[in-house]
Amino acid sequence: MTLDLVPLTPWLVLCAGILITMMVSVVRVETRRPAQVFTLLTLAATLISALSSVAAEPVTLFGGAFEASALTRVTLALLSGLGILFVVGTSDYLTREKLHYSDYYHLLLILILGAGVLVSSRDLVAAFIALEVMSLPAYTLAGFRRNDSRSNEAAIKYFILGGAIGAVFLLGTSFLFGSTGSTNLGAIQAWSRSSGGPDALFRVGQVLVIASFLFKVAAAPFHFWKPDVYEGAPVPVTGIMATIVTSGAFLFLVRLAHLPEWSDPAWAQNLAEMKLVFRLAAGASLVIGSAVMITQKNLKRMMAYSSITHSGYLLLGLLGTLEHPEQIQSVLVYLVGYSLMSTGVFVLLSLSQAPGDSGVELVDVTGLMKRSPALTFLWAVFLFSMAGMPLTIGFFAKYFVFLSSISGGEVALVVLAALCTVVSAYAYLRPVALMVMREADPGAAVWDARYKSQIVVVLAAAAVLFLGTMPNAMIHYLKWIPLIR
């Protein structure tokens, strides 16, 4: 068996980059700069190679276990791009908090690799491994402030729940294997066309694997870990989880949602069943996320609930893909948009010098308008975008998932989502109101506006605004990316 490595280039670049970076940091132990530089180089190279080969013919490799297609390349590019933003944007934070180790970069790179490979996996066992490749660094990074009990707690909670859910995924995989005789998605798909409908084993297995990925994207009722972990983990790690981990996991969830060939009439009832599952998960995520979000005082924790609602919106997009697979574009647009605004928010959060890492409380942003109008403006851009206000990418993100979901016939759910948007808008606008309307509280944290992290925020804000007014720049490319099932 000969293996054509050319389609694998972006991933291989990333792998090689990881190894080189690690070697370099072993050689130059006394300083972190080489690790940082090489991480950036690796990610940049991955980004470039992924984007330059986007138009390449989609192929599956390794006996159908790996997919190199436009979708996976774009995702890899997105992930590496986010990685670059985080490396640049949070190095100031790491320095300030004395967390600046080369390990951080190694783990970040491996995490990105895991996420990228997860999206490319067309085999459930491979996906399980990739998931762990992504998760293990994530657990570790969550506990990266080793002397902070909260950080440790976040890591251990994440780990315990993640481990249990990993086992659930595995059991589900074995059930699917038992039902279809394969763990390969392509094979399962092929089987579904001839099987004349699912058996019980398949249906249960399907539910189990999907439940475990609902956990990974923190959709209700598997969302419980998220607020605690987000609150405890260091800010950059929270940002990485919100963007990179969520993107990777969600795109694989889309694959899982398309296990059988839904257009086959024999699967209609199973489709209805799965739709109901997704519908419930989406609805619950939206309601829980937005209702609890407004009760939060800690911004980081609030963003956790916010990301739960975003999982709900993503699930709306996913529901649309069940009927119309081309609606994958809605998920992609949402992921890009959400990642951009999350990047901005978390890098901004890392600028606050709140004592400890308990995170930024609402009181810390009071009177920011007077202290730093520029920061206030940036905050406003990202929070408005999160709320889905027009002229930001947040609007178009919602536009797509709503439209996608309505195309899937989920009108009632979209109405619910719309109402939740209103509720969550309150939570998003409250910090802005405090910045603008309130005088600075004496206990408010100092905001560090000197650091170069602002470059990243400004870039992200510019992207949020640019894509919000000229979305065609992005949509034109994302629109033609098919979901290969």
Binding site: F62, A65, F66, L136, F144, V204
Partner: protein
């Protein structure tokens, strides 16, 4: 009586009882040793299904590596005796947990039992495997052909685990260590 059935009953009973002991023993060391028992009986169950390589690795990896690690950590943290501060969960909580997991187990078993009459999708029965050179050979060939991707991926998994563990296990931050 079919000796295989007998073996199955023995091994499975040990496994189930052992795992119950893992859960119910107050002492972590006792739990750990119960777990070892479970792993051994699992090896027996694998062997019963002619999964010889898996059975061997079960003992090597789980019993030999993972459990040693566990016991090591237990000792390291002085958690080798039943400690009072390890309060058990409240009765209601336990009962509810038992109910939920029990219900889950019931339904999953019922579902799994439906698959008794499964039509084999492959043809690699025991005879065929012997023909092809035995369990290990067949697995190995598959590992380096169809499952090469997974195999390569595990390398990065291990890499990640190593880096992560090191990062966690490093000593306390030294002042001035951070920063570029």
């Amino acid at each position: 009586m079919d000796y295989r059935l007998l073996a199955f009953f023995i091994f499975s009973t040990i496994a189930v009882l052992g795992s119950l002991m893992v859960v119910l023993k107050k002492n972590p060391v006792a739990s750990a040793f119960s777990l070892v028992i479970v792993f051994f009986s699992f090896a027996g169950l694998y062997a019963l299904m002619a999964a010889h390589l898996v059975a061997a690795l079960q003992i090597l990896v789980y019993t030999g590596a993972i459990m040693v690690l566990f016991v090591f950590v237990i000792m390291l943290l002085n958690q080798d005796n039943p400690v009072e501060d390890l309060r058990a969960s409240s009765g209601v909580f336990k009962g509810f947990a038992a109910l939920c997991t029990g219900a889950l187990a019931y339904f999953l078993i019922r579902v799994a039992l439906l698959a008794r009459e499964v039509t084999p999708r492959g043809s690699l029965n025991d005879e065929k495997i012997e023909e092809l050179g035995g369990n290990v050979r067949v697995i190995s060939e598959s590992l380096f052909s169809d499952h090469l991707f997974q195999f390569e991926l595990t390398s990065f998994l291990l890499l990640g685990a190593i880096v992560g563990t090191i990062a966690l296990a490093k000593r306390k931050t030294v002042k001035g260590e951070a920063g570029t």
